[in-house]
């Protein structure tokens, strides 16, 4: 029973993952810093999912990466590209719309919808 519930929750969250990651890349982040930010917001992300996801986003031209070798340890930083910013804007609108619709659907009355 709880297994089934868990798989539903995982599925629900999987779709929002890209949005969560993109939203934090307005400023350059490296892999682990991103994990920490997301964890602080209580967003659990499998690390074996996150690092490949960053690579994929780069391949899709949504983010650009660069190695920073000025510090003691070289780190790969990711930041949104112009195209990535556009996509993020649209995704955010879509998310707000979806969550509003779903909220109405779940509550059953329009009046309670958040703005």
């Amino acid at each position: 029973m709880s297994n089934l519930l868990n798989s539903f929750i995982t599925e629900l969250r999987r779709g929002t993952l890209t949005l969560a990651v993109l939203s934090q890349l307005r400023v350059p982040q490296y892999g682990y810093s991103l994990v920490q930010i997301l964890e602080k917001s209580n967003i659990v992300i499998d690390q074996s999912t996150l690092y490949p996801l960053l690579r994929r986003l780069e391949k899709q031209d949504l983010v650009v990466s660069s190695w920073d070798t000025t510090e003691s340890r070289p780190r790969k930083y990711y930041v949104l590209s112009e195209y990535g910013k556009e996509i993020l804007e649209q995704l955010m609108k879509e998310w707000e719309k979806t969550s509003r619709e779903l909220y109405i659907l779940l509550k059953g009355e329009e009046g309670d919808a958040p703005n």
Binding site: Y30, G31, Y32, Q47, Y51, W67, P74, R75, K76
Partner: protein, 331 residues
């Protein structure tokens, strides 16, 4: 340190050669996660968080982690189901023909039948494995090379499904359905009949137990008479094969199938009557043997042949009627 190296190696060796960058980033990330002056326990904890290197590597790869995905699976299974029975039949027919052609005339009947059965089973297994392998290979390659990546299941024609596809599917009712077992049975029967008919001189007759060994004493039929009718027999076999093929393609009893069934029965009955009204059909040696065995003198030819013809006609009529009944079944 050691564990980290092995972990990174376990990930990168599953990736294409040039991905040195992933190794560097992975190492930097792992070091980020570790506290200062870390112990092996810390390393283990971090690596647990990163998870199985196989999973991580597959995340980096865009290649599918399955042989044949949901897009092709249905077309794959449908093709297999279609081709495997056809292969089986072809192999059985080839094996039978080979054995008939290589027949020297001095082998025992059992040996021939066992040969056909043994070679047939072996051949079918062989052909099935080959067919399975090549079809699977083709689909596995397709799965990996198709860049269009339609997210929907494709039909056997490798096109996107449209409602028009439905028009091409015959509506098969359960009562009129012709099972593949029936088709298969018919083909096996035709093959056996062909083998037996053209080798009746070695197969059909009287067997005697001589010193523990089964020996063929005398054939039942006069082979020259049987051979002289080869043309109409082959014609009847072709008609039979055509009906089987037609049934296989249609998949159900229809008025057309029933009419074809009627024609087939008329043809085979006529052939049967022609052959069994030949007074030289039965081997003289056999009659002598029979008369000596039972110590009687009687003309068995006449009643026997009439009996066979009557039996044949009765079965043909029943078969024709059943064909029409199935074709006109409602539902």
């Amino acid at each position: 340190m050691h564990l980290i190296d092995i972990y990174i190696q376990e990930v990168t060796r599953r990736l294409p050669e040039k991905n040195q960058d992933i190794a560097l980033e992975l190492r930097s990330t792992i070091e980020d996660m570790l506290p200062e002056n870390y112990t092996e326990l810390d390393v283990k904890e971090i690596l647990t968080k990163l998870g199985n290197p196989v999973t991580l590597a597959s995340g980096y790869l865009d290649r599918p982690m399955h042989l044949i995905g949901p897009i092709y699976f249905d077309a794959y299974v449908t093709l297999l189901k279609m081709i495997l029975p056809i292969m089986t039949v072809i192999v059985l027919v080839i094996v039978s023909i080979e054995n008939i052609l290589s027949f020297k005339g001095n082998e025992a009947i059992i040996d021939i039948l066992l040969d056909i059965m043994g070679e047939g089973i072996w051949g079918v297994i062989n052909a099935a494995i080959q067919t399975f392998f090549w079809i699977t290979l083709v689909f596995a390659v397709l799965e990996r090379t198709d860049i269009s990546k339609e997210s929907v299941s494709l039909n056997t024609g490798f096109k996107k499904w449209t409602p028009d596809d439905l028009k091409e599917i015959p509506v098969i009712s359960k009562k009129r359905k012709i099972s593949n077992v029936e088709i298969f049975g018919s083909i096996v029967m035709i093959a056996i009949f062909t083998v037996v008919y053209f080798n009746a001189v070695h197969l059909v007759g009287v067997y005697e137990n001589v010193q523990g060994e089964l020996q063929f004493v005398t054939p039942f039929f006069n082979q020259e008479v049987l051979q002289s009718y080869w043309f109409i027999v082959v014609l009847a076999i072709v008609v039979e094969m055509f009906l089987v093929f037609y049934k296989f393609m249609g998949g159900q009893w229809t008025k057309k199938v029933a009419i074809l069934n009627l024609i087939r029965n008329i043809v085979s009955t006529i052939v049967c009557i022609i052959i069994f009204t030949n007074s030289h059909l039965i081997n003289e040696n056999f009659i002598t043997y029979f008369e000596e065995l039972f110590n009687i003198t009687m003309d068995i030819k006449g009643p026997f042949m009439v009996g066979i013809i009557l039996l044949f006609v009765v079965f043909a009529v029943i078969d024709v009627i059943q064909g029409f009944r199935k074709a006109y079944t409602k539902g």
